[in-house]
Symmetry: D3
Subunit: 231 residues, 6 copies
């Protein structure tokens, strides 16, 4: 990559997005399933929470790097949004300010964005809930931000501990947010489908009273590890 | 002010409340709008959260200073409540105990209080939700408190980082809690109304696809700051 | 007790559970009332929160000690569950991983478990909500766990600051989680009933405008403590 | 006060400082003693910690209100410093950035400042330690800040939960930071001296084996409160 | 145990302390070694930190249960201290107040106490350092506490997540605090000695360049687990 | 990059390290200067702190991805260390366990490692201090870890919010930890040298009483931004 990570003052216009069809299919799976299907990588830290219950979103990442207390770059990012995108906003230092609210959501939605994932705060929760525009944020705060200092758009960012390249697929729900690197969208989709297929069978067995101890064949390894039963 | 801040063992009976009519009108605006209208001051720290979704309240402050683990002064405060008040309770040290529950809420409500903002914990969430008595708190905890040590009522307090004088206007919703000093209620009201008037127009433009970059005239200052677009 | 606290690699099969009838009656009271009735002991730290609103549970404890990032012992615990149990899972170090999700919940439910209280993370919130299987956890995280290292089942554990012996009664709701030691179930029940009986009367008085200051006879002790009223 | 709290974009040049002689005498007492002498008010939250052990400072407050990630106002404040001042910097939202380092410390020291108390981060710890310029901060961070947005200087601020007016006396040591309102400097001094006089005597008694139970006459009130001794 | 956990208002006078000779020998080992020797149980949460570097202590526990913001029971505990004891203080809710300072330390030292472990705050750090009286605390705060509400002394307590019975052995150093149940002092001592004997040999091998991979025979299990080396 | 981020179970043996001579020269600058010279990118979150004061280190990164509570991969990493390396260990979920202590430090040192940066806990602080082996960690904890689950070595990792590729240069001191991407070592060195050259001059001016307001030409932009001076 020629653009150094976290480089400031740059907007990349032409990004390659993960395959649209694959992304739409990823939307059928939850973040937990995707995370497993990825081999347990790509998860955002769990302090990011949806601003309303049962929020769900899936799309391709437009990335933003913000400065603490400054949302200027979100306006710059709006222009780069295409239908089906999810904006992923990192901040150079932990900040709970309300970087995003109803007006920006209106603009993002008009541009076709499906959601925002932000390692900062959000406000106008009531209006965003009414609009059905989901946000995963680290805080909710009425405090607005200034527009004074450059960050960047569509560079690789680390957001809540996850590395996100522009165009990666983002899957988010009540359980959290996962990033699927663009090149892994298809294989992840296949792995998720396979995993979910198995789950139905397992669920039925467990519901009938079969124990995981038996279904997964755990009794022998537990004994080998030294587990002892006492009365 | 003659009463020193955080002075212990004092109850001020006669406080001057913000103009009733102005406060009622403030209730039409959200905490985020009020915070902007105030010039971005007066916000409580965002760790205060409503105990149930979509809570909203507006009123004049009766202030309380509590000791950790001790809610004696909330009983003293109850007597000072007048219809339309919001009780604002600071604690001398961070404490998550459940200082407030159904019985006190019943009493506060009977006295005409509209809400409680407390830099401590709250309990009886189910009952408070059923009663429709909103509380913004730093925690929810079943742990009760003792009644052993004096604090004060209706002195200036610092609650969750915000300075509140008795009689100030308090606006609280899903986005947080803001204090409008008594003397600023009218000007804040005017500023909020003006701000909200502008927002409708902006919202419509953004919804139609106009970018904030153009609507706010940001392209030139961004270029001046050195923003560069790459492909 | 012969089994040392937090001993690793042990499963105790025969535990003595708190009296079933008493436990069912405890379910009529909230965690806050039980905590008071216990003499204000037995409360789990308030950072444990229910994964959905209005969750409520009451049952006898099956205890588990987990290693960080490892949920092997939850599978072992499933076999020890009897109808009416609540699983209480401690972790040897703070960890937000999603130790528990839909499959384990299906198994636990099939065994008769009523809830999980875990000093770690939980996932599959949407499915658990749909199933009506309540969990009190310190976090929600899509991140799964391994099955590699022994912990124990049905030993005394410290979970979120509360000491729990297998068979103790657990009461959990929106206000938090309380442990009632097995031997105290009956006396706690009596104390809770008595307390609640008093509350109805108090509530009515307070609702009619009587002040706690008068109802509880606080004016004299407040004056003795030095409280002074100023104008 | 005519200048509203947290007003942005204002520098007050003429402030009335606490009496120099009283402040110098306050320096003989620790923060804990001063806090007691004040009647247990005026303490900054304990998350503020000195950047090196055994730091101690006492002086008159020059106050600053900063924006997150922006230290512009510290440069503005430098001009307002007079010998014997302690700069107290609040931030409009929690931020760990390194707002202050060696160069600013050099400037502050040249102007006669004795210390900085900042509800944000600090950097250049090695150099500041070598210079002997003490800082109480909420974090240490190598991350620098921009100079883009106005805050204010010498307005009343809430810093780490404490209300500070310009000219108030600040006492800081290993135990924390206390603000003594200008008008209370003399009475606080007297109370601190009285308190410390008593402490020598108490210390000698306790060192000789006398119990606080007897020295403070606690046995009777403990018994009255219901304390019971068992074997 | 007849005294219920966390029972309030009780002082147990006659406690059985861990064998003095064994405790003295435990003092030769660090907290990490003891924790390993115990089978990795009994550790206090790592948020407890010594108030000065290189602090070290070992002794028998006198336990205290405090209320938030109230240190009355520390005075009651002083009378129960015997030479060689370490006071372990739990608090019914998280609180950073300075429950303990120079005067109490003087009294504790005069009674023969070697250290304090407290799940709350401490003050007078400078004086305690000068006295060489070590404290492990969750915070340092100049804020004093009241003496108004009963707790207990010498009941089992949960302190920073560790269950401690009066008379248990406590080992504390820079790495943290461990509780060795009274009945396990001798076996722990033996296990610690054995462990440390092995460590010298291991240290020498590793210092000479031998890899843990070879010394511990890890290459085969790593390969079996699927580890693959790439160029 | 062919190896996906955070891929589990992989050890990359041949990594390209940043130019040795450039890295040695970087060691002359502090983390704050390097962070500035990099354009304010590459900083680890400030919750990583050195385990002893005045720690300093500079070297090339050997990266490790650990599982919570499991330090197996640190042993695998030891073999990949070459003289002048700094080991950078990420963990798949936040964990304070003591992953690293005296024995591993002995091994790392024997292999030529200069330091460890770990997004987890560390133990044996006393011994590590005596050895002069610096560690930057998120916690100190006596709790050891298991060796049961694969992670990876020398893959790109996100550690405390910073993206680190194997072979990148790491600079760490009292102010924090910075990662200089391998390809940027030379330019960063040049920028740091230039920056430091300027600082000497600035320092002298500020020490002589010149204000930053004048030295940086801030008066005009402050006035333009609306700053007003009042008396």
């Amino acid at each position: 990559m020629n653009v150094p990570l976290n480089n400031l003052g740059v907007v990349k216009r032409n990004i390659v997005r993960a395959d649209r069809a694959a992304v739409e299919k990823l939307a059928r799976f939850g973040a937990a399933t995707i995370h497993e299907a990825m081999g347990r990588v790509g998860l955002f830290k769990p302090y990011l929470r949806p601003i309303y219950p049962a929020a769900q979103a899936c799309g391709t990442a437009v990335t933003v790097l913000l400065q603490p207390g400054d949302n200027w770059m979100l306006h710059v990012a709006a222009e780069q949004i295409r239908p089906g995108d999810v904006v992923v906003a990192a901040v150079t230092a932990a900040c709970t300010d309300g970087f995003f609210g109803e007006l920006l959501a209106t603009s993002f939605k008009a541009r076709g964005a499906r959601a925002l994932v932000i390692d900062g705060g959000c406000r106008d929760v009531k209006a965003l809930t009414a609009m059905g525009f989901p946000v995963w944020s680290r805080a909710i705060s009425a405090k607005g931000t200034v527009k004074a200092t450059l960050g960047s758009v569509n560079i690789p960012v680390v957001c809540a501990g996850a590395l996100v390249h522009p165009g990666d697929a983002i899957v988010a729900d009540d359980d959290g947010v996962v990033c699927v690197p663009r090149a892994m969208a298809a294989t992840t989709l296949a792995a998720a489908a396979k995993r979910e297929a198995n789950e139905g069978d397992k669920r039925a067995k467990l519901a009938s009273g079969v124990l995981g101890l038996d279904m997964y064949g755990m009794r022998q390894p537990l004994a080998a590890a030294g587990l002892r039963y006492v009365d």
